[in-house]
């Protein structure tokens, strides 16, 4: 039995809460998160099973990782793990918290702000790629005479579907959350 393992997992842009749950489950089962690399390769090492809360923050300006950003989380008892695609990874053992479970956000206004940062930082570039690449390519390939075009066209159709699903997912989540905050 090895002391390390790697798992391939894909979480789309708006699924950071799902990712947090996944990392917490792994730690409960005795696998402590080490880092994530490449396109969703999660590295773990064996540990004593423990309930540890994992949290992700998104800050466009924290990709430079200002010391004071990490220091503030450290002061509050959160261990900084890494930065991955604009997301900062933190963890804190549940037993170090009081009666109520803590997160890195304590009000809905700041949770909504985090969603906005993800939207501006990640969804906007996607939208630009979407509009400037996929849609024109679909149009070009569908009108092309080359036999390979059919395969390329299908490829772009799949990409189109993936992107549309990502937008709808994010839109629905954002809307639901916005409504729950502004009743």
């Amino acid at each position: 039995m090895g002391n390390t393992k790697t798992q391939l997992r894909f979480f789309s842009v708006p699924e950071w809460q799902k990712e947090e749950k996944y990392l917490r489950e792994q730690h409960k089962n005795g696998w402590a998160f080490v880092r994530v690399s490449g396109l969703g390769v999660y590295h773990f090492e064996k540990c004593v099973p423990q309930d540890v809360v994992y949290q992700l923050d998104y800050n466009a300006d924290s990709t430079k990782q200002p010391n004071e950003y990490i220091q503030l989380f450290r002061d509050c008892g959160w261990e900084y793990l890494q930065n991955y695609a604009g997301y900062s990874y933190f963890r804190k053992a549940a037993c170090e918290m009081g009666e109520t479970e803590e997160g890195i956000f304590c009000d809905d206004a700041s949770r909504l702000d985090m969603m906005k940062r993800v939207f501006v930082g990640r969804m906007t570039p996607l939208l630009i790629i979407f509009l400037s690449l996929i849609i024109p390519q679909m149009f070009i390939q569908s009108h092309s005479q080359f036999p390979e075009s059919r395969a390329v066209f299908i490829f772009y159709c799949v990409l189109f579907a993936v992107y549309v699903i990502a937008f709808i997912q994010f839109g629905v989540r954002y809307w639901k959350f916005y409504r729950s905050v502004h009743k």
């Binding site: 950003y69 220091q71 002061d75 509050c76 009081g98 997160g103 304590c106 009000d107 702000d113």
Partner: protein
């Protein structure tokens, strides 16, 4: 005070209120957390993500200003604009309290 500041900060979040209240004296992020915990007898524990976001926004909007850095911790202080906003908020909360007492 322009309409943007009024719209965003009056009324403000509980976290925002305690940040401004604490920054009447120079302080860094974690000392704001500690002081708020003391003032509220442990009822309000500001989380770092919320605090960092609020401090960045308030600095950008000119409610607080960066003073200096000490041991990787940024020290902030309230500005005149921040004091004006805080006073408005204090008046609003005092009015709420008076109405509540009168309704008893």
């Amino acid at each position: 005070m322009d309409s943007h500041i009024r719209k965003v900060y009056v009324p403000m979040t509980e976290t925002g209120f305690y940040i401004l209240l604490c920054l009447r004296e120079e302080a860094h992020g974690y000392s704001i957390v500690k002081k708020t915990e003391q003032l509220t007898h442990g009822e309000i524990k500001i989380s770092p993500g919320t605090l960092y976001g609020s401090l960045s926004k308030m600095e950008k909007d000119g409610l607080i200003r960066f003073v200096r850095e000490e041991d990787k911790r940024k020290i902030y202080c309230i500005t005149d604009l921040g004091t004006q906003v805080l006073n408005l908020e204090m008046q609003r909360i005092a009015r709420l309290y008076q109405s509540m007492e009168a309704a008893k």
